[in-house]
């Protein structure tokens, strides 16, 4: 499932609620769940960051996320996956993204979760605009490669 949130969300409550909702398809089959939670820092590129606006391309965001999840499901035997991404105005310690995957075995769960997160960061149309300590705003111009940085 894919969800774009315009207000704060609690990732672990979302996972709990989703697992209850998906109980029939997961019960007895799930051997592994892997979860990634991305949170806003109060620093970036050597500067203090006091807030951020996350813009996205409604419609394309969901379409590209579906592609990413479909690609993951082709590569690994997944039982289910959940992606929630925040948009709008966010502040340090706000959760920005949740990726959770369920599978029978841990290898697929670990690898697919990582794959989905890295693909999201390079393909899904979200953009961050940071508000620095002095009030100045700047666009984040690129994401770092998670396998390198």
């Amino acid at each position: 499932m894919i969800k774009i949130c315009t207000s704060a969300f609690e990732p672990y409550k979302e996972i709990e609620a989703y697992q209850i909702q998906q109980k029939k398809s997961l019960a007895g089959k799930q051997g592994a769940a892997n979860v990634f939670v991305g949170t806003m820092r109060d620093f970036n590129e050597g500067e203090e960051v006091k807030g951020m606006t996350l813009e996205h391309y409604p419609g394309m965001t969901e379409k590209q996320l579906q592609h990413v999840l479909a690609e993951a499901a082709e590569q690994w035997p997944l039982l289910d996956s959940l992606v929630i991404h925040r948009v709008g105005d966010v502040f340090p310690d706000d959760v920005l993204v949740l990726v959770a995957v369920w599978s029978a075995h841990r290898g697929a769960a670990f690898d697919a979760c990582r794959f989905i997160m890295e693909a999201l960061k390079s393909k899904v149309p979200f953009w961050k605009k940071e508000i620095l300590k002095d009030g100045e705003c700047r666009w984040v111009d690129k994401n770092t490669d998670g396998y390198v940085g």
């Binding site: 813009e55 960061k121 666009w139 690129k142």
Partner: protein
């Protein structure tokens, strides 16, 4: 006969508008649309484009009534 054009993020600010319309001409590519609408602005080297919400290269032909979007590298997550 027109193409709906959308700009996002820093590109939207650079251009000063979020949307535009471009008269459709047969044989037009994505790059041609940019040059027609923004002849005074050089296209950023790292620009990305999508037609109807799917990524395309700059030499892709556009069709009448397409939604064409231009945007900078994505930075979500």
């Amino acid at each position: 006969m027109s193409i709906k054009v959308r700009y996002f993020a820093s590109l939207k600010e650079l251009i000063g508008q979020a949307t535009d319309d471009c008269e459709f001409v047969s044989g037009m590519t994505v790059q041609d649309v940019w040059q027609k609408l923004l002849p005074e602005k050089s296209m950023p080297a790292n620009i990305l484009a999508a037609i109807n919400m799917e990524y395309v290269s700059l030499d892709t032909l556009v069709k009448d009534a397409d939604e064409l979007a231009f945007f900078p590298p994505v930075t979500g997550g």
